[in-house]
Amino acid sequence: MQFRRSLLGLAAGAMALVGTAPLSVAGEFDGVTVNILTRPGYVIAGRLVERGVEFQKATGAKIVVTEVPYAEIFPKIQSDWSTGTNSIDVGVFAAGWGVELDAAGLLEDLDPYIAKDDKIDLDDVAPYFREFGQKVGGKTKLLMVDGDFQMVYYRQDVLEAAGQQPPKTWEDYIDVASKIHGTDMNGDGEGDFGSCIFKKRNAQSYFAIQTFAAPIVQTKGTAQGFHFDSATMKPIINNAGWKKAFELYKETGKYGPPDELNLDIGDTRALFKAGRCGLLVEWGDPGPLQLDDDAAAIKGKLYAISGLGSRMVLNRSTGKLVPAIKSNAPHSVDGINYAPFAAFGGWAGAINKKADQKKKAAAYAFLSYMNQSAQSSVDVTIGATGYNPYRLSQLSSPDLFIEAGMPKELAENYIGAINGALSNLNMASDMKIPGAQSYTSVVLDTELARYLAGEITVDEALENIEEGWEEITEDFGRDEQIAAQALALGS
């Protein structure tokens, strides 16, 4: 009895405490909490948290960033938004994934907000990202925070020492890698690796293979695509072009770290920062990342190439590889066809249509804050944030990066490489149709990993991918996919 009474007293006291909530700064979005879901680690998420603190001071909205493993971002957002659970308000993910969510009517249309927003400057966003990254079906549904291209990097000092020219094609890449593999690139007495590529399954490997395949398979401009035949949505994967790409990809493993199959992007970054890689396939991050303190071994030495090409291209009607000449590859240069791959499309934020109005307003304000030049131009120079340049003001001159500490020549090379990719008329676009995730990160990734591990032959892998892709296309409806692909490629 005594115990129960004291318990009641305790409860009453606690209830009294309930009333006294601490005051917070009065702001436009006071009392609103915005939940953001994105990938784990400091990259992408860290900056959102830090800017979130600033944002809260300015407007009173609380920004909460939750991190889940990369492979779970899309399923979690899709199930959360489609079932109406609404614990997440904003998803920051690959711009290409937005198409499937939008097809289900889950994304909030941002145009009305943009019209009322006087701080956002969308004209400054590079046209490719503005039209293909942020817009779905002509309406803006996402706001970019980062622009993505896959490029090849090389250690200028190592190549010079070995008397090698920067590679122009993937065959050159392998050739150079073989010549520098085993040499000591960071002065620690141990042999280092010719080429480092993140080949781990369920990670980013499936982007790298597309960088290899694009110049072989796509010749006639972005609208041609290199995954499907645009008229019928039949996969163009089971052919000599992709087969060559797979084989080249596997061959780079001979000149790479022994456990390359188990390395994801974090591991390869640690390797090249320690100075152990001669050649890299990567996004825009290594440019600013080499300025970090723990990258002293490579500072100023990592140069970029906007994309490697191929001397042989695929003739789609015969299915054979033919030399690249102006008639079959109008964008080729000196007999080499280039097709820089806009892998991943860039991290962008989208808002849950079913969230309540105040949250949506606060979420938009935060995304706009991240997108604005003042913030973005600072973020893209810091390698650790994972944000790469995507705005014209960031790409028009190397000054931004020179200020951040890059030597002039390196900054010019870096910006030049990105601009070269963006302006290339044969730029290869990442998949932006419903099911994009399933096509690439599930089917392509699994079969690629099994081929690399030696479980299946390359022909079997390509066959399995074709079968898997057809299944997905049938599932979503072939006609819908044809229409979606047309929209995605802007044809």
Partner: protein
């Protein structure tokens, strides 16, 4: 004269309260009479709602094509397509492994397996009831199916899929863990000092979070930065990476899993060995028997019931392995260290909820048949003997 023990304890009535029965007492009496229901109701309800119903609901998932639309989940009935995909369709190589070409050795061994199983079935035909025969037929069917996959894939030099990877973890893992665990228990059951200290110490790995074990093992198994690097260097194996080859990855998985589960076997077997009466052993020692004979003829028969029960429990848990392969290799080079649970999770991530449920169901069937067979034919017979 002993009081007769009542068989049906429900018949015992509480004594009447002296002041007559009031309504409050009537309520308490009613509660007490139905105490049986009240005691067991919460457990039964919880299990029904959170275990039985979802299992049945999961079957609906497995039989449908599930899609996320703007208003939630939409189911489209597709029959057994998700299951067929695992055995004949696009997932066959992933699930079953490569099953052709079948080598001569594979054919021979398969024939041997079929003959053995059918002979066993025939032998029980005469002595068993129809219920028992049904059970035995199911076991036999499973044995033949598993035998076929084994012969067609592994014994023919082909690669195996997640089905056999799971079985590998279970069978090989349990065998290794049992051998080492019993060995340790035997050592500890000797007259040594500090037995309790060892018991406490050896128990710790069992309780460490499997995720934590996964990370610890991943770090330790790292060939460039882990503690084994100097040893591998000495052996001239600097360039060998265990995670690049399917079978070495699987072996490493089993080793790491054993680290966590040997304590379980150790604890149970140690208790069993401690319960063997010392005087039997000492009498045998006086008679001049060697330790080996003592173990085989005196100790072992007494611990066999516990041993098989422990094996059964370990096997049941082993089928569910997921954390370790996920953390250490993300499914291994290709898909070689994927267990069926992990396979199901990866398929879930791909938003194919139907296939994910189908694979989960296949795992359930596999677990139930294998464990029930083991229980009926091995555990029960050993317990009956004891």
């Amino acid at each position: 004269m002993q009081k007769p023990v009542p068989q049906n304890t429900k018949d015992i009535q509480p004594g009447n309260s002296p002041a007559g029965i009031s309504s409050g007492d009537k309520w308490r009496e009613w509660c007490d009479r139905h105490a049986g229901s009240f005691f067991i109701a919460p457990a039964v309800t919880l299990i029904l709602i959170f275990a039985i119903f979802p299992t049945i609901y999961s079957m609906v998932f497995a039989l449908s094509r599930v899609r996320f639309t703007g208003d939630g989940l939409k189911f489209r009935y597709v029959g057994f397509r998700n299951f067929a995909k695992q055995f004949f369709g696009s997932s066959e190589m992933h699930f079953l492994g490569r099953t052709e070409p079948v080598s001569i050795l594979g054919m021979i061994i398969f024939a041997v397996i079929v003959v053995t199983v059918l002979w066993w079935l025939y032998r029980s035909w005469k002595t068993a009831t129809w219920v028992r025969m049904l059970g035995r037929s199911i076991s036999a069917a499973m044995a033949i199916f598993l035998g076929w996959i084994l012969c067609a894939s592994l014994l023919s030099g082909n690669s195996i899929g997640t089905l056999y990877t799971t079985l590998f973890y279970v069978l090989f893992g349990c065998a290794v863990q049992f051998a080492i665990g019993t060995g340790l228990a035997f050592l500890c059951s000797q007259p040594i000092r500090g037995r309790n200290f060892f018991r406490v110490l050896f128990f710790i790995p069992l309780m460490v979070t499997p995720l934590g074990v996964g990370f610890a093992m991943r770090m330790i198994a790292d060939v460039t930065k882990g503690p084994f690097e100097p040893i591998l260097g000495l052996l001239g194996l600097q360039d060998w990476v265990w995670s690049a080859s399917p079978w070495s990855a699987r072996f490493v998985m089993v080793i790491c899993d054993s680290w966590q589960w040997i304590p379980f076997i150790f604890i149970c077997m140690l208790a069993a060995l401690e319960n063997v009466p010392r005087d039997h052993v000492e009498a045998a020692q006086v008679d001049g028997a060697s330790s080996f004979h003592i173990f085989r003829d005196v100790t072992w028969p007494q611990v066999v019931p516990v041993a098989v029960t422990v094996l059964l429990i370990r096997a049941i848990e082993a089928f569910k392995i997921m954390d370790l392969p996920n953390i250490m290799t993300g499914g291994g080079p290709g898909s070689s260290t994927e267990s069926m649970t992990l396979h199901s999770v990866y398929v879930w991530r791909a938003n194919d909820l139907g296939s994910s449920a189908a694979i989960a169901y296949l795992l359930l069937i596999l677990t139930v048949v294998v464990c029930a067979s083991f229980f009926n034919y091995v555990v029960l017979s050993q317990i009956r003997k004891a």
